[in-house]
């Protein structure tokens, strides 16, 4: 009987290979909590937070777009958490995260009307400009914390106070891993839905797809909101993990450049790639910082160039098309 039931679920698409892999993936990472030392867990959690941004970029890459300013939403989500905590005295983690998602959603909804008209390099650069506007506003206004940013302290999980010296505890780790898993599941399902399949059509040929009845701008607006909200969630989780946010670490264009870097190297073929790419990047960066504190940027640059020159398959299919 049990086998038959399983078959039926498989038929209805409730269970498939990707979902099983995802569940295994999450279990592996949860079990790492008990196996790995603290610093490794910290790096893993951070790379999951950043991985959410890369996941958002993956959605845009599916439609052939890339944003050089996703740090803006990362920053917005983080500031939403930090400012709600500091100004409204809300300490409940789930409320804070809801605020970060809301911030990303609202801002990207309105900016989307503007951004969706652009493609290619203009889309990338316009996003860069928007993120630099946000950076400029935050750095120059004292009420927003200027370059110091904000810090947060104790948090509550379902009004259960965790007074831990360390930001990283089993609760925050589980929260990050499970939320990331949930988002991966959502993105996975979205990519299989008609809307998700449309993205590839748009990437391959925009004009033909519009003749087939796809409203291109609407689709791009939709995924822009989707990906920005993911980035905002990543920023919110990052603040919960690290406990501090500054504009230089989030909204400045070099940060967005890093995100694009990881996104390009991990490719847009499946939803695991962003997380793996992000993990890889964070570990390279922390080791490079540790062993070569003066030349870590150089190492990252070398990895980036070597990756692009010699690993074009890892870059995903969209970037292999030849220029006319």
């Amino acid at each position: 009987m049990a086998v038959k039931k399983l078959e039926r679920y498989k038929m209805r698409g409730l269970i498939n290979k990707d979902k099983l892999i995802l569940i295994a993936f999450l279990f592996t990472f949860i079990s790492f909590w008990f196996l790995l030392p603290d610093y490794a867990i910290n790096t893993i959690s951070l790379s999951f937070c950043n991985g959410l941004v890369i996941l958002g970029l993956l959605l845009l890459m599916r439609a052939g777009l890339i944003s050089f300013g996703h740090g803006m939403y990362y920053c917005l989500g983080g500031y939403a958490v930090a400012m709600t905590y500091n100004f409204l005295q809300i300490k409940e983690v789930f409320v804070l995260i809801a605020f970060s998602i809301l911030a990303g959603f609202i801002v990207s909804f309105f900016l989307g009307f503007f951004v969706r008209r652009f493609r290619g390099i203009f889309f990338a650069m316009l996003n860069l400009a928007l993120s630099m506007i946000l950076f400029g506003i935050i750095v120059k206004s004292v009420s927003l914390g200027s370059t110091d940013g904000f810090g947060i302290k104790d948090l509550t999980y379902f009004s259960h106070i965790i007074e831990d010296e360390k930001r990283l505890n089993i609760f925050s780790y589980l929260l990050i891993v499970l939320l990331t898993g949930l988002m991966m599941m959502i993105v996975m399902n979205f990519l299989k839905s008609p809307s998700g399949k449309m993205l590839e059509a748009i990437r391959e040929n925009e004009i033909r797809s519009s003749y087939l009845g796809i409203s291109i701008n609407k689709q791009i607006h939709k995924i822009y909101i989707f990906s920005s909200t993911l980035a905002a969630l990543g920023g919110g989780l990052m603040v919960i993990l690290i406990g501090h946010i500054t504009p230089e670490d989030t909204a400045y264009w070099t940060r967005s450049g890093e995100f694009v870097f990881v996104a390009i190297l991990s490719g847009s073929l499946n939803v695991f790639a962003p997380l793996i790419g992000s993990l890889f990047f964070e570990f390279i960066r922390s080791y490079a910082l540790f062993y070569f504190p003066n030349t870590w940027q150089m190492i990252i640059g070398v990895v980036l160039i070597l990756g692009i020159l010699y690993l074009p398959e890892g870059i995903g299919s969209i970037f292999n098309k030849r220029k006319k």
């Binding site: 390099i121 950076f135 694009v260 870097f261 940027q297 160039i305 692009i308 020159l309 970037f319």
Partner: protein, 299 residues
């Protein structure tokens, strides 16, 4: 409103500086469709080379102070040609056929590498090569005392703009370049060596970037990280003016220079914000930039 002459002068100087940095970037994009992030490092390299040379010269020789002006073109030429040829030959040539964004990322990787190379070569202490700027002294413009060196920058920028237009309109190289810009494949079929044009253009663009750095070295303190700020400003100028248009870059630089100077005079906290705000406003009315050409949609 007594400050209006100040604003106009300041914004002209700032716009000229912006144009010097942005012209190379827009030239390279116009011909090669490469948005060169490493342009920021070239600016910084030029600034460092000039600052180092000036410091070395004034430490060892005290006569012939005017000779220090020679270091500006020397450092720009040496660094620009070496780095330009290196980058084009060993990196860009391998990825021309890839997507524009990938090319941007390769130059971003180069930018990261150069940042650390500069720290290794020149150290992290700041250089203050103020001597050339002091030499020229001050002048009264509309009864405002102004530094002559800064005013000279306006002249240099105007000369660069003139040079571009002259080359493109009145020389054979310019006409050939126009054909390369319009259709790469067709021009190579007609016997134009496109690769040669690419390497010359890229080197010339890099040289302009270095020149921008070398010229502005006496006005600033040369510290690690100056390239980072410059490149985003240059991007804003180039995108506002229309990618690939030199006149566009000049007009964009004027717009942004004026907006920024007004902001500095009346609301200094908006300084960084206003640059990108102007860009966003202009792009929302003209998505391809002020002088950009609309892309033809091919099915």
């Amino acid at each position: 409103m007594a400050s209006i002459p100040f604003i106009i002068l300041d914004s002209l100087v700032y716009a000229s500086w912006l144009f010097m940095v942005a012209s190379g970037l827009t030239l390279i994009y116009g011909v090669m469709k490469v948005l060169n992030v490493a342009h920021g490092s070239l600016y910084a390299f030029g600034a460092y080379a000039n600052a180092w040379l000036i410091g070395w010269y004034f430490n060892n020789y005290s006569e012939f102070e005017a000779l220090s002006f020679l270091f500006i073109p020397i450092s720009a030429l040496v660094i620009g040609i070496i780095l330009g040829v290196l980058i084009e030959k060993f990196f860009l040539r391998k990825i021309y056929f890839r997507d524009e964004i990938v090319v941007v990322l390769v130059t971003y990787g180069l930018f990261l590498i150069f940042e650390d190379v500069m720290k290794l070569i020149f150290g992290t202490t700041s250089y203050l090569p103020y001597q050339p700027r002091m030499l020229l002294g001050n002048i009264n413009v509309f009864s405002i005392p102004y530094v002559v060196y800064d005013l000279a920058i306006i002249g240099i920028a105007a000369f660069i703009w003139f040079l571009f237009n002259f080359i493109i309109k009145y020389t054979k190289i310019g006409k050939l370049l126009l054909s390369v810009i319009n259709d790469r494949e067709m021009s190579s079929a007609l016997g134009i060596n496109v690769n040669k044009f690419f390497i010359y253009t890229f080197t010339f663009g890099c040289l302009l970037g270095c020149l921008g750095g070398a010229v502005s070295a006496p006005m600033i303190s040369v510290v690690p990280g100056i390239g980072v700020e410059v490149i985003v400003l240059a991007f804003a100028v180039v995108v506002t003016g229309g990618l690939g248009s030199v006149t566009g870059a000049a007009i964009g630089a004027l717009f942004i220079g004026l907006a920024r100077t007004i902001a500095i005079f009346y609301a200094p906290q908006l300084e960084l914000f206003i640059v990108f705000f102007v860009m966003a406003i202009i792009l929302s009315f003209k998505p391809e930039g002020l002088f950009g050409s609309k892309e033809v949609r091919k099915i």
